[in-house]
């Protein structure tokens, strides 16, 4: 009897079946939270307000409106300028940190990451404190036309700086010292080494940084909403169309236009990241810094300057949030941190809700991202399904937050969907998610899914595929190897992913601003509302709280990570 049962089990349920069920579940999740909303977004762009199909009429309307077209031009202009500034600065900084002997590198890197930990509105607000009508520097006679393109460009440049720095640091670190030694032996000048070795080796990193920065500033909502003034850009256009004029169809059109450069950037990234990995072989020797006093001093000065700038920049908002009434009454006070005064929908609970949403996004997002990466990397069968999962998992990289937010409204808000051309309606079984905290968690996971997925894939790729073969031959079920070997060895990546989800969910505005209602308000969205209502100090105070929470999480991560990386490093040494 038992034998017969075992035989049956051997036949019917193999571990491949279990994996297949997992893969299908993942596909279903992607369909509900990514594919479905996007399809509806595309459908809406080809419909008029009543829901009738109108072909390209909406697009024609968009292209004939001078106002709309100007915002497209504005967005391209500020994105190009901000990209140029941030990539140049990041290039200098990355060079200083990786190729010159500069003290306190860790500290400089940490400070230069500050813009990632705060909502982008904070960058705009610091600018107002510095250059606004009553700004410190304005008072000292330094007047710039802040509101409009100048303000947006400065804010976006600072916003993009850390991500450009991270990409370029990776590119710079992949140098092969043997090439430099060979060049020295052949008496190459420093300039020739730069042209023939350094630039080619970071080429793809540089291209990637340019496109990522362009996309970031092209799609950012926070900074233009604070310092944009009357200078309209696409991200704020969508918001105005949807929230201001309730013109959802035009919002969808703007969303699709906004996706053009992000999709392009997406393919460039695919192309360059493939090339980048091939550039360095396992035999390469890491770059060794050759001291050069003058260059080292210049590099150190540059790093100090950037650091002072960052500290000053964020310090000014901190100061602004701590004084009674800028700039007339500079008496220190904590009254702006009393969030119960803000508004009915604001208050302390929005901060707790933000933490809750971010923590849930971190936990659930990490599980799903790791599962997806595991099935893609560590399964032999189901090639087609794995390819589909891979494509879906990396595609959120090509979709701006505002577009995802809008698509979610289209998918989750209606109680019923009309069946096109039949007059019938089908019930929307996902309507129950609308107006819930759960939906905010989902939208954040979807919005930020690609980077964690790629991180997990990279970590899994580093693990010997023969671990699975050996386990199979030892007849150990796959889940035991997953739990005892794969997960422990990927712990560092898993923590990194969780922190990424958490921090981004804390600061994001673009996607959630369409989905937050009075009962699901988030701190970052409150910042926009409060700042819009003219209460800069309170807005700065909330930003500071978000920044502080993210800093604490980051520091906790470093503390937890240290023993883990020591352990992982131990087994990596041969």
């Amino acid at each position: 009897m038992r034998k017969a049962l075992e035989k049956l089990r051997n036949r019917v349920i193999t571990w491949d079946t279990v994996k297949l069920i997992g893969i299908v579940c993942l596909l279903a999740i992607f369909c509900i939270f990514l594919v479905g909303p996007l399809i509806l977004l595309f459908v809406k762009a080809f419909q008029d307000g009543s829901g009738a199909f109108c072909g390209l009429a909406q697009f024609r309307k968009y292209l004939s409106s001078a106002n709309m077209l100007s915002s497209l031009g504005h967005t391209i202009y500020i994105s190009l300028t901000a990209t140029l500034i941030s990539v140049s600065a990041a290039f200098a900084m990355a060079y200083s940190l990786s190729r010159r002997s500069v003290p306190c590198k860790k500290f400089f890197q940490f400070i230069s990451r500050l813009p990632m930990y705060a909502p982008t509105m904070l960058l705009g607000m610091s600018l107002i404190y510095l250059f606004g009508n009553k700004g410190i520097l304005t008072g000292l006679g330094l007047k710039i036309p802040l509101y409009g393109k100048v303000g947006i460009i400065i804010a976006e440049s600072i916003f993009c700086f850390p991500v450009a720095l991270m990409i370029l640091m990776v590119a710079f670190s992949s140098a092969d010292n043997r090439l430099y030694e060979a060049a020295d032996v052949l008496h190459a000048t420093p300039f020739r080494k730069l042209i023939t070795i350094t630039l080619p080796s970071i080429k793809y990193g540089l291209i990637n940084a340019v496109f990522v920065c362009f996309t970031y500033s092209f799609t950012d909502f926070g900074a233009p909403s604070v310092v944009g003034g009357n200078y309209n850009v696409l991200a704020t256009d969508i918001y105005k169309q949807v929230i201001g004029q309730q013109n959802f169809n035009m919002g969808a059109v703007v969303g699709i236009i906004m996706m053009l450069p992000t999709v392009l950037s997406f393919f460039v990234d695919r192309f360059t990241s493939k090339r980048q990995t091939g550039a360095i072989s396992s035999r390469s020797i890491p770059y060794r810094i050759v001291p050069n006093k003058r260059a080292d001093i210049i590099a150190t000065c540059f790093c100090v300057l950037v650091t002072l700038f960052m500290i000053g920049f964020f310090g000014v908002s901190l100061f602004g949030s701590l004084v009674t009434f800028w700039p007339y009454n500079l008496k220190l006070t904590l009254s702006h941190y009393d969030f119960s005064l803000i508004s009915a929908s604001g208050g302390v609970e929005t901060i707790f809700r933000s933490i809750k949403v971010s923590a849930l996004a971190a936990i659930i997002g990490t599980i799903i991202a790791f599962m997806a990466a595991y099935f893609v990397e560590k399964t032999q069968k189901f090639k087609l399904l794995r390819r589909i999962i891979y494509a879906l998992a990396i595609s959120p990289n090509a979709i701006p937050g505002t577009v995802i937010g809008l698509a979610y409204i289209f998918f989750f808000n209606p109680k019923t969907f009309p069946l096109f051309g039949t007059g019938y309606q089908i019930n929307n079984s996902f309507y129950f998610l609308y107006n819930t905290v759960a939906l905010l968690v989902c939208v954040n996971i979807t919005h930020y899914f690609s980077v964690p997925f790629i991180t997990a894939s990279t970590a899994l790729k580093r693990l010997d595929n023969e671990f699975e073969s050996v386990s199979d031959s030892l007849k150990v079920p796959f889940y035991r190897t997953l739990a005892r070997i794969t997960l422990p060895l990927s712990m560092q990546a898993i923590l990194e992913i969780a922190v990424y989800f958490f921090m981004n969910s804390m600061v994001t505005v673009s996607a959630v601003i369409f989905l937050c209602t009075s009962i699901t308000q988030l701190a970052s969205v409150v910042v926009v509302n409060v700042q819009g209502a003219g209460n800069d100090a309170a807005a700065a105070a909330i930003c500071m709280v978000i920044l502080a929470i993210n800093l604490i999480v980051r520091i906790l991560y470093e503390i937890i990570n240290k023993p883990i990386s020591r352990k992982t490093d131990a087994w990596m040494k041969r």
């Binding site: 073969s469 050996v470 199979d472 150990v476 131990a570």
Partner: protein, 334 residues
């Protein structure tokens, strides 16, 4: 441990229209130690993976004791495997690595401990139980991998270039150890290697492969003394090829008889180089009577070179005993 026979019938594997394994028929007897030998890319590792069930063949069948296991998944075939990279779990100690396959087998703790100790002792690593793979030398890692593969008492053992990542000395030592463990357990074993010396010293049977095809199989002596093709003759050991009487002939360097004085059937040759190799010397010689184009090599014990007072430029007399000459048909064929 039981011994099984393994048989493949017309085993073929193609990736994207490219044939990496072409119609392989192989018979491995119970308890036999078989080496799959060939240059890299000849398909030997693919053959091993097909027998393991890590890949599925495009065509053909695999039999275990006359039982068709072609469609049996890897985890249902009872075998142990050792990879070139060892694939030891870096986060587990040597002991935990060895017991990894035992924990889900309805064994008591004591049984697990006994089994693990038995095999750790067999590979001579009783003292290294608590160490992690990174704290073990390459040879020790390889032993742990071998012990781990043996604990589940497999029907057959697969070794995928197990020694190629090791130093020369450790390699020779492990060769002997693997052989003696294999003989002690009497377990059917298949080893993939590209090292002919490894194959000649370890195997009961060598299977030579080239370009996805099986070239020849037989005992090391058969393969060395009676290669059936030019490829096999050339791939295993050193050999001189020459064309003579419209036919391609070959002879091993140590089979050529050399003397300082002319004798019956000998032809005159000029020594062009003497390469000292320790216990023997490899002489290069040219003889118009044998080949006008090519030099040929002669291996001679160093002692004998001294006795004959051979030196470069001096004439010598060589003789190729007909019984030792290999024939490979017409000269145009290769």
């Amino acid at each position: 441990m039981s011994s099984v026979s393994i048989k493949t019938e017309g085993l073929t594997k193609a990736y994207d229209g490219h044939t990496v394994l072409d119609n392989i028929n192989l018979q491995i007897n119970p308890g036999e130690f078989v080496c799959l030998l060939g240059p890299s890319g000849c398909g030997k590792s693919t053959l091993l993976r097909l027998i393991a069930g890590l890949d599925k063949p495009t065509k053909g069948k695999v039999f275990l004791d006359d039982r068709d296991i072609t469609n049996l998944p890897c985890s249902k075939r009872n075998f142990g495997i050792v990879f070139q990279s060892y694939a030891l779990f870096p986060n587990l100690s040597a002991y935990d690595n060895v017991t990894y396959g035992l924990k889900n087998r309805r064994m008591t703790k004591r049984q697990i401990e006994e089994t693990a100790n038995k095999y750790l002792e067999m590979v001579g690593l009783s003292g290294a139980k608590k160490r992690f793979p990174s704290q073990l030398s390459g040879g020790e890692q390889q032993r742990v991998a071998l012990a781990r593969a043996l604990t589940i008492e497999p029907d057959f053992l697969l070794l995928d270039e197990p020694l190629s990542a090791l130093d020369a000395k450790v390699r020779v030592k492990l060769r002997h150890e693997i052989c003696s463990i294999q003989r002690e357990l009497g377990i059917t074993t298949i080893m993939v290697t590209h090292d002919q010396e490894e194959a000649l010293t370890m195997a009961d049977k060598i299977v030579v492969m080239d370009k996805a095809k099986l070239m020849q199989s037989g005992t090391p002596e058969e393969i060395y003394d009676h290669p059936q093709s030019r490829f096999v003759a050339d791939f295993i050991g050193a050999i001189n090829f020459y064309e003579n009487e419209g036919e391609t002939k070959a002879i091993r360097p140590e089979k050529i008889v050399i003397n300082s004085l002319p004798g019956a059937d000998s032809s005159e040759a000029v020594l062009t180089d003497i390469e000292f190799r320790g216990n023997f010397c490899r002489l290069s010689a040219r003889s118009d009577a044998i080949s006008k184009e090519h030099e040929f090599y002669i291996d001679l014990p160093t002692q004998r070179v001294r006795e004959l007072k051979l030196c470069v430029g001096a004439p010598a007399f060589v003789n190729m005993p007909e019984a030792e000459v290999l024939h490979f048909g017409g000269a145009s064929r290769s």
